[in-house]
């Protein structure tokens, strides 16, 4: 195709799209807030033994429905976010890890922003919505995008073997690494990724931080008039590493009052080998933290990062309340998955236990959600896409894997039969009901925990005959098939200038 033809056709396709957009006067706007690596330590979920300062999450909880048993579709960024944004599970798409590119694998899939746009919305995004590494944020998904700004020299332009290097990013913070770990300073392993393995207070204001600059962009957006209903996605990166925040958030957590997670030495003895391997994935990082005498500081930094993210959420809510859109905007907040800080001997995400799957999740929909309600039913972030379709009157997409949460938004105690499903790599699944967590690995090995009596998931009941019926009842919710993994990044060369992938070996 010649360039001129291409542009002509492109213009035509835009024009026809605008003409076919439905009348959208009554459609609500959407403020879609994502946080990264935030586990259930936030105050309303009570996962942390001490006090956590998340007043704005509490404020969100007062406005609408807060889900106390929400889980992510996967426990690593790319598969989880791809699932949320496409409405399709990893077991449907074959996108299982961060080493795959979702777009060339799923060229015909209509993502959430694309679907909103096709239904008359203007779609705006900022920060981290899809996974943030090179090649996961096609610019054609959005009418406008504010790229993520890192606080450390990581990832926008982290060289991808065989790829160009995009020239956007910022440099190491002064004095890197602030945590003083020598391996990090020298770029040695462990840790697995020294570029982000740091934490500490920065003498910056909220809005000078990378996340803050994105929020500032969103505040500007909310202060302006918009003709069409909008879908505004604001992706906050904290509490993802590096745990840098303005100093005041560290001051909320005095070092002498940090509670370390409860860990049982023999905890993994009753866990099958694949589960033990998952717990081991970043064990070297965890050992490095402990050997460096930085465990308490790391926990403090993670908490500070949660509170910083919470403060940014507060700024978004303030701006929304001040704006013309306060009364007709649906607000969602979700985290892409949880994070272990030593529980079950695991550091990082990448497991199928509660600490990795359980996330904060809120929905406020004017005229739909009763204020200040809690929903204890098991739900999954895969349900977001169909829920927004219902809330915003978008064209139905029956192929999606999730179930609309509308019944629960109207009545948080409504029955819901389907458990939540979380997948980590092909064939490993965790199902969660209100009471049970059932894990089945690709080799058929299992775990079963009774969360009512065992909130730390220390006693695996899967081998006990008395629970055969529970397992059987849950197993019917496992995916009927596990899609083969889509090609890894190594199968393509990617050109960020034109945002195109070429299969290696193709002529």
């Amino acid at each position: 195709m010649k360039r001129r033809d291409f542009l002509k056709l492109a213009a035509l396709s835009m024009a026809s799209l605008t003409r076919t957009a439905k009348a959208s006067d009554n459609k609500p706007n959407v403020l879609f807030i994502a946080v990264d690596d935030m586990n259930d330590w936030v105050s309303y979920l009570g996962g942390y033994a001490g006090k956590v300062h998340t007043p704005n999450f509490d404020r969100l909880a007062r406005r609408g429905v807060s889900f106390t048993n929400a889980h992510s579709p996967s426990t690593v960024c790319n598969p989880s976010r791809t699932a949320i944004m496409t409405g399709l599970r990893p077991s449907t798409t074959g996108v299982y890890n961060n080493g795959q590119w979702w777009r060339p694998a799923l060229p015909a899939v209509v993502t959430m922003p694309e679907h909103f746009r096709a239904n008359g919305y203007s779609v705006h995004g900022g920060g981290k919505i899809f996974h943030h590494t090179l090649g996961n944020n096609p610019p054609d998904l959005w009418d406008e995008y504010f790229p993520q700004i890192q606080d450390t020299a990581w990832h926008y332009d982290y060289p991808v073997p065989g790829q160009h290097v995009a020239k956007r990013g910022i440099h190491w913070p002064e004095g890197f690494p602030l945590n003083g770990i020598e391996n990090v300073r020298l770029g040695k392993r462990p840790p697995a990724n020294y570029r982000e393995f740091d934490w500490g207070p920065l003498d910056k204001t909220d809005l000078e931080m990378g996340d803050g600059q994105m929020v500032k962009w969103a505040l500007d957006f909310l202060s302006k008039p918009h003709e069409r209903p909008f879908f505004l996605a604001a992706g906050i990166y904290r509490p993802h590493l590096a745990w840098y925040t303005p100093r005041k958030y560290f001051d909320l957590y005095p070092p002498d009052r940090i509670a370390l997670p409860a860990v049982r030495e023999d905890d993994l003895d009753d866990v099958p080998p694949i589960g033990r391997a998952m717990a081991r994935a970043r064990r070297a990082d965890f050992e490095l933290v402990k050997e460096s005498g930085k465990y308490g500081e790391a926990v403090q930094a993670y908490l500070a990062s949660i509170s910083f993210a919470d403060a940014l959420v507060g700024r978004l809510l303030d701006a929304l309340d001040r704006s013309d859109y306060a009364r007709n905007t649906v607000v969602l907040l979700w985290s892409d998955h949880g994070w272990h800080l030593g529980e079950k001997g695991a550091w990082h995400k990448r497991t199928l236990w509660e600490r990795a799957t359980h996330v904060p999740f809120f929905i406020t929909a004017p005229g739909v959600t009763p204020p200040g309600t809690t929903c204890v039913r098991p739900v999954n972030l895969i349900d977001i896409y169909p829920t927004l379709i219902d809330l915003c009157g978008l064209e139905a997409r029956p192929e999606l894997d999730g179930l609309s949460l509308i019944p629960l938004l109207k009545n948080p105690t409504a029955k819901r039969q389907r458990p939540s499903l979380t997948t980590h790599e092909r064939g490993n699944h965790a199902l969660r009901t209100q009471r049970w967590r059932y894990i089945r690995y690709r080799d058929g090995t299992e775990e079963l925990y009774d969360r009512e009596s065992d909130p730390n998931e220390w006693t695996n009941l899967a081998e006990k005959p008395a629970y055969a019926a529970v397992k059987k009842d849950m197993a019917r919710w496992l995916p009927k098939s596990d899609a083969p993994g889509v090609p890894t990044k190594g199968a393509y060369s990617f050109d960020p200038e034109t945002y195109t992938w070429t299969a290696k070996g193709a002529k």
Binding site: P107, P139, H164, K167, R195
Partner: protein, 383 residues
């Protein structure tokens, strides 16, 4: 059509790229544009065979190269393209075999046959890197240098023999050449060239730490003459350095495969023909090990500077010897043959945060692999 790797029909294409064309990607207002590409520290060591502790040589004292190996991958079976300085270096630096660039001798410049070839440092330069040469990277003659490879003029790149001695008896005249094959002088490191090269390279690191750089550092020892400071000779007890394990000519090898080590015989303490006396063999072997430790110490200074300047976490380090060397084995001295000892040379590649740092591999690799490896590591287009 784009996106060949996926099943995409025309409408999908328009849906995706039509928007891209119609709606420009808005960059962040005020987003700073800064390069954080990997730098490259590219260390060439002249005539270095794998007489390194990390390569299993238990005589060698090479703590710094061992430390580099612990950061990266050590290739146990890396082979040069031709065991002669100019062709080996021209080949590695252009990423082409000697037969492709038609450089097989010590006189031909690769630009003569391939005038527009883009060398490895030139490729980095064209991608915005500061590319600089300190020491011997191309073969050490003025006519074989390659200014297009570098952003700034080379330093310490061509040394005549006289400059490789410090003792007066080895510098009898203004234009004196090869004198003794070995020299031991109680002088500081930078009395000899490799010490000066290390100092200059550290200066280059300090000056260029804020931009992506490709710094090539070419150390001249353990090339003959084996001249280095006394403290490196003192590291070894000559009696404990074993004589060559296989000093006989290979049985049945044609004469063409061998040579009479003309390079060594040019030194004034070496007989013009015939075998060497045992004490000369011991002295030469001692000298080679001493010079290896001397270069190792200079490499240590570079590694320390990277750590001190907080550059280690952004810098890929490569170390290679241009070919191997015979120290009396096979009744041979010097290089030039196609035997194992001449064609196998050290190769270490260390990338920041590398997985499996400290591994040694027996995978068979060639020096022409260096060019694409570095470009891929640094995310440059492979040409």
């Amino acid at each position: 059509m784009d996106c060949k790797g996926s099943k995409m029909n025309r409408r999908d294409f328009l849906r995706r790229f039509g928007y891209a064309a119609a709606v420009p990607f808005l960059p962040a207002a005020g987003a700073k544009l800064v390069d954080i590409r990997f730098n490259v520290l590219f260390i060439a060591v002249d005539d270095l065979r794998p007489t390194l502790r990390c390569c299993g040589d238990h005589i060698a004292l090479t703590p710094n190269i061992d430390r580099l190996a612990a950061r990266g991958t050590l290739f146990n079976r890396a082979y040069c393209q031709q065991a002669v300085c100019n062709p080996s270096r021209a080949s590695l630096m252009t990423g082409r075999r000697p037969d492709t660039i038609k450089v097989w001798d010590l006189a031909t410049h690769f630009r003569k046959t391939s005038p527009h070839i883009v060398t490895l440092p030139q490729h980095f330069k064209q991608h915005g890197y500061h590319s600089q040469c300190v020491g011997k990277i191309y073969h050490g003659k003025k006519s074989l240098q390659d200014p297009p490879s570098w952003s700034v003029p080379e330093k310490f790149n061509v040394a005549v023999k006289r400059e490789q001695y410090v003792l007066p008896e080895n510098r009898p005249g203004q234009k004196s050449g090869k004198m003794a094959a070995c020299e031991c002088a109680d002088v500081p490191d930078n009395a000899y060239w490799d010490g000066k090269i290390a100092d200059e390279a550290i200066k280059a690191l300090e000056e260029n730490r804020d931009k992506p750089f490709f710094l090539a550092v070419g150390l001249m020892k353990p090339h003959l003459p084996f001249s280095c400071p006394k403290k490196y000779w003192d590291l070894y007890d000559r009696d404990r350095i074993s004589p060559p394990t296989n000093p006989e000519k290979p049985a049945g090898a044609p004469e063409l495969a061998l040579h009479d080590w003309v390079e060594l015989r040019g030194y004034n303490d070496i007989p013009n023909k015939g075998p060497l006396p045992p004490d000369k063999i011991a002295e030469l072997r001692h000298g080679y090990y001493a010079c290896v430790s001397y270069t190792d110490a200079q490499i240590g200074k570079l590694l320390d500077a990277l750590d001190r300047l907080d550059l280690a976490r952004d810098t890929v380090i490569v170390l290679w010897g241009d070919h191997g060397w015979h120290l009396g084995e096979h009744a041979l001295w010097c290089k030039n043959t196609n035997f194992e000892l001449d064609t196998r040379a050290p190769l270490i590649v260390a990338a920041p945060g590398q997985r499996c740092a400290g591994t040694k591999t027996n995978a068979l690799v060639e020096f022409v692999d260096t060019y694409p490896t570095l470009t891929e590591l640094c995310g440059l287009l492979i040409i």
